[in-house]
């Protein structure tokens, strides 16, 4: 499976993502934001970080960068596009995903391990995933997902909520909501579920000695579903 990770000025999870993808057998390439085209890929990843210094609004400047047209065309033709953290923020700013990531409710930068519940498995990312609750890592200041009531209803009706913050037991409540996100939302899909944006970092959970392996499950699952 071929993948491309887009690097923006200020991206800082691009190399971690590269390491993770290659570890599980993706043929990954790095693509600079000023390029106009993306090498032939089966998956495009927008990595975490602080693209363009988070100027104006997180992800807003990156969403107008030169490479983005190719990313949008790829997504609209059904290609898999994964945005992690700042990548999720960029995807909402492009309009590929609904809503926006606002500043965390308590104005704090959060860096911690969290549990997320997989809400939908009828898609190429989570289909046949053996676990329902994943332990992943978050590190963000703007992860407080917000959308209008109508958008929320359509996300729910179409099963576009991908992952939600929860406890180890899978219970979603306010205590398990780190940033105030509406309905504990940690990640969502577009309508056809080929575009996934999520705040947690699976690429930080790929080593049992350093962190955990639930991220490994995630990447292996994408590969298994591609075969």
């Amino acid at each position: 499976m071929r993948s491309s990770v887009i690097i923006f000025p200020g991206s800082n999870c691009d190399r971690d993502m590269d390491v993770a993808l290659k570890k599980f057998g993706f043929k990954n390439q790095m693509v600079w934001h000023n390029d106009l085209s993306i090498p032939k890929s089966d998956l495009i990843v927008l990595p975490g970080g602080f693209s363009y210094g988070d100027y104006l609004r997180c992800g807003s400047i990156a969403s107008k960068s030169k490479i983005i047209k190719s990313v949008i065309d790829f997504a609209n033709s059904g290609g898999l596009v994964l945005g992690i953290c700042n990548g999720f923020q960029i995807l909402t700013e492009t309009g590929l995903l609904k809503g926006i990531l606002q500043q965390n409710k308590f104005l704090n930068f959060i860096c911690s391990n969290v549990f997320v519940k997989v809400k939908d498995k009828q898609n190429k990312y989570f289909k046949d995933l053996k676990k329902d609750v994943l332990k992943l890592h978050i590190a963000h200041n703007e992860g407080n997902y917000f959308c209008s009531d109508d958008e929320l209803k359509s996300l729910e009706d179409n099963n576009q909520i991908a992952v939600t913050y929860c406890g180890e037991d899978g219970i979603e409540n306010e205590t398990n909501n780190p940033n105030g996100a509406i309905k504990n939302i940690a990640g969502i899909f577009n309508n056809s579920k080929n575009v996934l944006g999520m705040m947690p970092h699976p690429e930080r959970m790929i080593d049992k000695y350093l962190s955990g392996e639930d991220g490994s499950l995630f990447f292996k699952n994408i590969l298994d579903n591609f075969k």
């Binding site: 104006l56 909402t92 926006i100 606002q102 500043q103 409710k105 308590f106 917000f146 209008s148």
Partner: protein
């Protein structure tokens, strides 16, 4: 021509920074501050003499970049 734009959060959208500023002001004995909403202010120099045309250009900029209409409103002043 200089066009000025104010971008604010829509009514009903939580503004934690505004809330923190309000609480701080209250703590500084400005007890009559009931609410604070924080926004952004832009001054945009447009190479255009016709005010109407300049404002219409800036309006387009607001919709496409300066404001995110999911949570923000903008006002050209």
């Amino acid at each position: 021509m200089k066009i000025k734009v104010i971008v604010t959060l829509k009514n009903g959208v939580l503004d934690p920074q505004g809330k923190a500023i309000q609480q701080t002001l209250n703590g500084m004995n400005f007890g009559n501050v009931e609410d604070v909403r924080q926004g952004k202010y832009f001054e945009i120099e447009v190479k255009e003499k016709d005010e109407k045309k300049a404002k219409s250009l800036v309006d387009d900029m607001c919709k496409k970049l300066l404001a995110n209409l999911v949570i923000e409103d903008y006002k050209i002043v």
